[in-house]
């Protein structure tokens, strides 16, 4: 198992190199001149040349790429906008996004799994239909609109919760619900279908024939098996939350990496954008590794060989 984890960590290296190349090329292919953005409209041609020289933007692309790699490892890479090391710019915001995404995924799993199990056990009753309708609504509702609706009700009308920013645990409630809604819907649908499949299995009849209560049959024998496919979805959803937090962060003025990414793209702040993308990709891969490890915990038939 340890060898398996180690090998998967080694695989991170080629993945991250790939991500960094793609991020680098896409940014440099896109139109827009960072020097012009920094210097402003009045900047003279001489100013622009000086700025480009200062940040190495006049060098050939391969050289710029290796400068970026080297700067990332030594921590000397500077943000074009803030003129401070990129990690100092990104890390505090990435931490905020990670916190928000973690709270969201916990909420999404709690709601999604509960709703999924209930609608499978109470199949074709009003409970099942209600859960299905809400799951589909959750999946298809645009994030910014849903966020604004909640904000209108809880912050503006009822004045129970803050409308934006972060600081207290209360600040987490609205954004994490909004961010996790779609995931909760997807998890609910997935749990429902895998639960329905598991409930038809012979070992469920065996468990009932032993004299176990319905609660134990569902909660112990069925749920553990039904969780195996659900865990995959949860892992993928967590990656989605990291990458897709930008809308929620914008609506709730959450100082996260999603918003940083968007503003940095607009400002052509190449080092920040590239480093953020590499970091987000790294977390995505790590979460998927955690999912694979969790498989082996849930299902004894899964064994990894180094």
């Amino acid at each position: 198992m340890l060898r398996f984890i180690f090998r998967r960590l080694l695989l991170l290296i080629p993945v991250l190199i790939g991500v960094s190349i793609v991020a680098f090329l896409i940014l440099h292919l896109a139109p827009g001149d960072p020097a012009q953005m920094m210097g402003g409209i009045e900047a003279s041609e001489a100013d622009l040349i000086m700025l480009r020289q200062k940040f190495g933007l006049d060098r050939p692309l391969p050289v710029q790429y290796f400068m970026f790699l080297k700067g990332m490892f030594t921590g000397e890479l500077l943000s074009l906008r803030y003129e401070s090391p990129v990690m100092e710019v990104i890390w505090p915001r990435l931490k905020n996004t990670l916190a928000l995404a973690s709270v969201s995924i916990v909420i999404a799993v709690l709601i999604g799994v509960t709703a999924g199990v209930l609608s499978a056990v109470k199949r074709k009753t009003w409970m099942d239909y209600t859960a299905t309708v809400f799951a589909l609504l959750g999946i298809s509702m645009p994030v910014f609109w849903w966020g604004l609706l909640l904000m209108l009700l809880f912050s503006v009308k009822l004045m129970w919760l803050p409308s934006g920013g972060m600081g207290t645990p209360l600040h987490y409630i609205l954004p994490s619900i909004v961010l996790g809604t779609a995931s909760a819907g997807i998890i609910a649908r997935m749990t429902r279908s895998s639960m329905l499949d598991v409930l038809r299995q012979d070992y469920i009849t065996t468990a009932t024939a032993k004299g176990l209560s319905r609660r134990l049959v569902v909660g112990r024998h069925a749920l553990r098996n039904a969780m195996i496919p659900t865990v995959t979805v949860v892992g993928l959803q967590f990656g989605q939350l990291l990458a897709g937090a930008v809308l929620t962060e914008t609506v709730f003025s959450w100082p996260g990496v999603g918003r940083l990414l968007v503003t940095s793209i607009l400002a052509r702040d190449y080092p920040v954008v590239q480093t953020s993308l590499v970091l987000i990709a790294a977390f995505f891969v790590l979460v998927n590794l955690a999912v694979d490890v969790l498989y082996a915990v849930l299902d004894p038939r899964v064994r990894y060989h180094g």
């Binding site: 299995q201 012979d202 070992y203 009849t205 065996t206 468990a207 009932t208 024939a209 032993k210 004299g211 176990l212 209560s213 319905r214 024998h221 553990r224 098996n225 849930l298 299902d299 004894p300 038939r301």
Partner: protein, 287 residues
């Protein structure tokens, strides 16, 4: 005994209250079980206390009837703990190891910690039998316990079941479509056709003197090594549509002895000889 789809398993599952409701439902009749009376009148919680303790079940396919994510030992322990909450951890383990020994599981101390996928089909069925025996039930329902196993393992499992039945003093309700298995195992036999029992008799009477035309047809269809024949004997026709059963006797259209009354009145089980019951107008008339 009876062919596929004649209602053997459904009947057994109904006795245990294992038919999922909905879509299933029991529309009539009674299930009388010792001092507990009619099981159909019991609440679900009362049935839970009986299941596993007073009556247990061994299923057809051991490959799918054990939960893949729990160890074999745990699944047997669970059956014991459910009905005896005060048992200590140590007693529990030694009892499960003892059960595993009793059903001839190889290396019982190690096997209790094995997951189902690490055991062979025969071993899994032994685990199921150990689970069935764990609380000393009065009735063990074995629903085609050997159908999914190799022939050599089949014989081992049947011998084991017979031996344990004698030792434990439990009744065994064995479901099978295999006449050889029935002849070797049973004391009394109920033959089912299209959802109802058509003949009930001690095993020797049934094989020597079958009365119902369906039973006669079944026994007549067994190929024999010592006779040279061109074609195997068959029962003509096919099963009636179970969703749209004909009026009168369900076997009438395939029966060579059918009378006029068979078309309109469904025959009931009548004792024709001591201990030998048949549901057939022709048999009743001949008496």
């Amino acid at each position: 005994m009876g062919e596929t789809g004649c209602g053997k398993s459904v009947t057994a599952h109904s006795v245990m209250g294992l038919i999922p409701v909905p879509p299933g439902r029991i529309v009539g009749g009674t299930v009388t079980f010792g001092k507990h009376g009619n099981l159909l009148d019991l609440k679900e919680e009362e049935m839970q206390k009986l299941r596993g303790k007073e009556m247990s079940m061994i299923f057809q396919d051991p490959m799918s009837s054990l939960n893949p994510v729990f160890t074999a030992g745990f699944q047997v322990e669970e059956a014991i703990v459910t009905h005896d909450r005060h048992i200590s951890k140590k007693d529990l383990l030694s009892r499960v190891v003892g059960l595993f020994k009793k059903v001839n599981i190889s290396d019982p101390e190690k096997s209790v910690h094995s997951y189902p996928h690490m055991l062979s089909g025969g071993m899994k069925q032994r685990v199921m039998i150990a689970m069935g025996l764990s609380c000393g039930p009065k009735l063990i329902i074995a629903d085609e316990p050997t159908t999914a196993l190799d022939v050599s393992i089949q014989a081992q499992i049947l011998t084991l079941l017979k031996k344990l039945q004698k030792e434990e003093g439990s009744s065994v309700l064995l479901i099978s479509h295999d006449l050889g298995v029935i002849a070797a195992m049973a004391k009394n036999v109920a033959v089912m056709y299209a959802g109802s029992i058509v003949e009930y008799a001690p095993v020797s009477d049934l094989f020597q003197q079958p009365m119902h035309p369906y039973t006669k047809g079944l026994l007549g269809a067994i190929p024999r090594l010592d006779r040279d024949i061109e074609r195997l004997a068959v029962i003509p026709g096919t099963l009636p549509n179970l969703f749209d059963l004909p009026e009168g006797c369900k076997f009438r259209e395939r029966c060579s002895e059918a009378l006029e009354i068979c078309a309109s009145v469904r025959p009931r089980l009548i004792e024709i000889e001591p201990g030998h019951e048949v549901a057939c107008h022709a048999c009743a008339r001949d008496r």
